[in-house]
């Protein structure tokens, strides 16, 4: 995997080697080695729980520097709806969109507009009846990554719709070309609430090739916007999405948009995991649509935001009250349903398998259980693994020495 595509990076000078991030990681992708946290990137789903929880700000989410927009002559901004929730007393979404033109962009295409199209596509795909119920939203890339790594049996439940930002990117680029801009001059940039989106867009999840040219952080763009927004005296009308699209920034907004009554919406990594396990156990068979967001409260909870998720969510609710229900439709856009669907299905990843050979894997499991019986089972993390079980796995996989347990003899 390309090293530049990492979702989180470590500032070794700031990392104290504490176990906070390691204990929090939902895929056990972190180990503390030589006093510093290290990420097993093949297991990283980009949820950024480690960034959120690090007490020393040593975990850095990956995103592009704002300056990369200058690599293109014609710069298009794709603001996520969560961006609108970052500003206090925002009178109109137009103020943010006008502001984007002032800080260097030539055009703006709201991701919430594309979200309304995806909502409609979702309804049509559910009506087709080809995807197994309960149908899982594909909007949160960290959730999709988690499923293709750890919940292979649920992969066929994921709806094959593109993320709204992918559709926004394509439509925005088309619009620019139609307006006579040479294709090579066009740069399309997502203003992202989270590093999982950075990873998904750079690798082109569901796409044959990525469709954005850069992914910027909400917080960096926020600082530039606040410097200009108040100075705008005349707002040019630009906003083209209704309440339904803006609602995607908050947990349950996407599900409510489908109009389905048998839906379930869960947010926050631990809750997402609980729901996935329940689905595996066949507990949610009466549900039609499952919306899962890795971040608390949905995309407003992303680590690249400024405001806490609850405040942003409340502000977005107030903004939505001023908006019409929805402003975009597949019919008026004139694209076939396939335009809104994955070009290729993300492949499952076998990161938790102990061995390609099932008998050897079984043997390893047996060794792990035997070693585990000698360990204190307190999951203290002092050895550098998130749990005694993870430590035992690392030992059996030959990664660490079996004498690495520092609290082995305490209670004997």
């Amino acid at each position: 995997m390309d090293k530049s595509l990492h979702t989180v990076m470590l500032d070794p000078a700031k990392c104290k080697g504490c176990v906070s991030c390691m204990k929090r990681c939902p895929t056990e992708a972190i180990r503390v080695r030589n006093g510093k946290a290290t990420v097993l990137y093949e297991r990283c789903i980009g949820c950024a729980e480690c960034v959120r929880v690090c007490p020393h700000q040593a975990k850095l989410p990956a995103y592009d520097s704002f300056d990369i927009i200058n690599n293109y002559k014609y710069k298009i901004a794709l603001p996520a709806p969560s961006l609108y929730g970052q500003f206090q007393n925002l009178d109109s979404i137009d103020r943010v969109l006008n502001g984007l033109l002032m800080i260097g962009f030539d055009d703006v295409f709201e991701v919430s507009s594309a979200a309304e199209l995806i909502t409609e596509a979702t309804k049509k795909i559910i009506e087709e009846g080809k995807i197994k119920k309960p149908i899982i939203s594909s909007a949160c890339p960290a959730v999709v990554e988690l499923i293709i790594m750890g919940y292979h049996g649920l992969k066929d439940h994921i709806i094959d719709t593109l993320a709204p930002v992918d559709v926004a990117a394509r439509l925005a680029r088309e619009r620019a070309i139609k307006n006579g801009i040479p294709e090579e001059d066009i740069g399309v940039f997502f203003i992202s609430p989270c590093p999982a989106k950075v990873f998904a867009l750079k690798t082109g999840m569901g796409l044959k090739k990525p469709c954005v040219d850069g992914v910027l952080s909400t917080s960096e763009v926020y600082l530039k916007l606040t410097a200009v927004m108040d100075k705008i005296t005349e707002l040019k009308p630009m906003a083209k999405s209704g309440a339904s699209g803006v609602y995607w920034a908050s947990s349950s907004g996407e599900a409510i948009g489908t109009g389905l009554t048998r839906y379930l919406a869960a947010d926050g990594m631990e809750n997402v995991v609980t729901v996935l396990k329940d689905m595996e156990n066949g507990k949610l068979n009466y549900i039609d649509f499952v919306e899962l967001n890795a971040c608390t409260s949905g995309c407003v909870g992303g680590v690249l935001n400024i405001e806490n998720p609850f405040v942003a969510r409340a502000r977005l609710r107030l903004l939505r009250q001023k908006l019409p229900k929805a402003e975009n439709s597949i019919e008026s856009e004139g694209k076939p349903l396939d335009f809104y669907r994955w070009e290729e299905v993300p492949e499952t990843k076998d990161v938790f398998r102990l061995d390609e050979n099932r008998l050897l894997a079984l043997q390893k499991l047996d060794e792990i259980e035997k070693l585990l019986a000698t360990l204190p089972l307190i999951d203290c993390g002092s050895c550098g693994a998130p749990s005694c079980k993870a430590f035992a796995e690392d030992v059996v996989n030959g990664v660490v020495d079996k004498n690495g347990c520092v609290r082995k003899n305490e209670n004997n």
Binding site: G153, N281, D355, L359, A361
Partner: protein, 139 residues
């Protein structure tokens, strides 16, 4: 020789922890690279069995053996036992109290689902002594 033995306590009347044994088994099967369809059958069958022990038997034990070709699960409890096993195996038949049905459990699909999702299924029960379900799913 290649086999793995796991044991779990299933606490009675604890709906919060119900499912933890089957979740553990699922995670183990994933480490073996087991076919997702097999994992799903094991998950549903074992989860139903766990819930049965939680609702009806005040808990019990789950003994799991993973062999080269199959997984065998024994769910043993010292609960009230089942007077008429044939009746209990019928879809929709349930003795779960209303309070439990209101929580979404006790639809009378537990034992029938366990049988449907396993390749081998056996149930032994004695009133006032307990119930033991043994099921196997082949890889």
């Amino acid at each position: 020789m290649n086999s793995l033995h796991l044991e779990f306590d299933v606490a009675g009347n604890n709906f919060v922890s119900a499912g933890s044994a089957s979740n553990e088994v699922k995670s183990t099967l994933k480490k073996l690279g087991t076919d997702p369809a097999v994992i799903r059958r094991v998950a549903v069958a074992m989860y139903e069995g766990e819930i049965n022990m939680v609702i009806h038997a005040g808990g019990g034990r789950a003994l799991v053996d993973i062999f080269e070709d199959r997984i065998k699960i024994v769910l043993a409890d010292k609960g009230p036992g089942i007077a008429d096993i044939e009746l209990a195996m019928q879809e929709g038949y349930s003795t779960a109290p209303d309070a439990i049905r209101e929580q979404g459990f006790g639809a009378g699909m537990g034992l029938p689902n366990m049988k449907r999702y396993s390749d081998e299924f056996d149930i032994q029960s004695k009133v006032n002594e307990g119930t033991t379900v043994t099921l196997s799913v082949y890889f």
